[in-house]
Amino acid sequence: MTWASLTDWWWPYLFILLAGWLPTDIWRFIGVLIGGRVREDSEALVIVRAVATALVAGVIAQLILYPSGSLAESSVFLRVGAAAAGFAAYLYLGRRIIVSVIVAEFILIMGLLLS
């Protein structure tokens, strides 16, 4: 059974529910069940939080190193350089998110225009 197997109007929506909604929300529900057993001051929560943070950091690295769409055609060195400069600007210029975004975007766009 693929996306194009049935021509009925409801088939794509059922496909989205079974292949998209179910395998996504099932993890959220399991997360609720696990999180419900964790006490707020326990070491287990420190572990869960560390794993979740490292994972979100992995998502960030993925978006920079292996992006999809138009960004994928730019040089990886440009993206890493722009991100590193933006983050350094965040750390050393008053910890403002907007500063990091502006510095990184400026370098990225300049690099794209010059290449």
């Binding site: 693929t2 996306w3 529910l17 975007e105 794209l112």
Partner: protein
């Protein structure tokens, strides 16, 4: 602006109670009022960045032959941008239903530890499990980062209302964004999309660092950033999950063996 003033007031209120478990004392603001403060975050910078990412998604969906209603249904039902992109990739690759479901499940496993860390932050002492299961649908990276930063300043028994406002408004707004952009078939030069796609990681990078309550979060973040490319080389299908586990292990090693240095925050 109004929201940040309200946040400040809420912050003062919770700080005046010593243990956070006892924050369920008389609160002059109703649940609905907290719902609205959560909803007002749709005008924040991270919410705008998420909308730009969905502008890109609408274009991606229409390029791959997914209809307007199917694309908007995906955004509302799945509410995780990477899972949506994986699903469209699987559809255009002609995957079977099972193959597509497995690919999506792998990209969505990350939500499990994220939700598990979020729930103790969000629940009050009388929160029903059903409420948490329902609200968990609205937890994705952006709402997670905003929630981990702001929920600590919201009285505990108002946190589910606050997050309901934030999460549901973000989901509904972005569903509408996809519908409108798709309908207008708005087209931008590639450099605009490239710049828009770069906003998300930069915002996450700075806000995740800034919202950390102790040093262990910084260690977790750095290890995740550095381990991901390495792990991606060896196990691309499980890269995010393994990055989470390995980064978590590094962090716990740090907490265990260097405990004194990071205390006092």
């Amino acid at each position: 602006m109004l929201a940040s003033i309200l946040m400040f007031i809420a912050g003062c209120m919770t700080d005046s109670e010593l243990p956070s478990h006892q924050a369920e004392v008389a609160d002059p603001r109703t649940g609905f009022s907290w719902f609205l403060s959560g909803a007002s975050l749709v005008f924040s910078v991270p919410a705008l960045i998420l909308m730009t990412a969905h502008v890109g998604f609408a274009g991606f969906a229409s390029e791959n032959g997914v209809s307007l209603f199917q694309a908007t249904f995906m955004v509302a039902a799945i509410w995780a941008l990477p899972a949506n992109i994986v699903l469209i990739g699987a559809i255009s690759g002609g995957y079977s239903l099972l193959g597509a479901a497995i690919a999506v499940a792998l990209s969505s496993i990350r939500l499990m530890p994220m939700v598990a860390a979020f729930v103790p932050e969000m629940r009050g002492s009388r929160t029903r499990k059903f409420t948490l299961l329902f609200l968990s649908h609205f937890i994705a990276v952006t709402a997670w980062v905003i929630g981990m930063e702001r929920l600590q300043h919201v009285p505990r028994n108002m946190r589910t209302s606050y997050f309901a406002g934030l999460g549901m408004t973000l989901t509904i707004t972005n569903t509408l964004v996809v519908a409108i952009v798709y309908f207008l078939s708005a087209d931008f030069p590639p450099i605009v999309f490239a710049a828009l796609f770069f906003l998300t990681p930069m915002y996450f990078l700075a806000s995740l660092w800034g919202s950390a309550r102790d040093h262990s979060i910084h260690i977790a973040m750095i290890s995740g950033l550095l381990l991901f490319p390495l792990i991606h080389l060896f196990a691309p299908a499980y890269d995010l999950l393994l990055t989470g586990l390995a980064g978590g292990a590094v962090t716990m090693g740090y907490v265990r063996w260097l405990p004194k240095k990071s205390e006092g925050r």
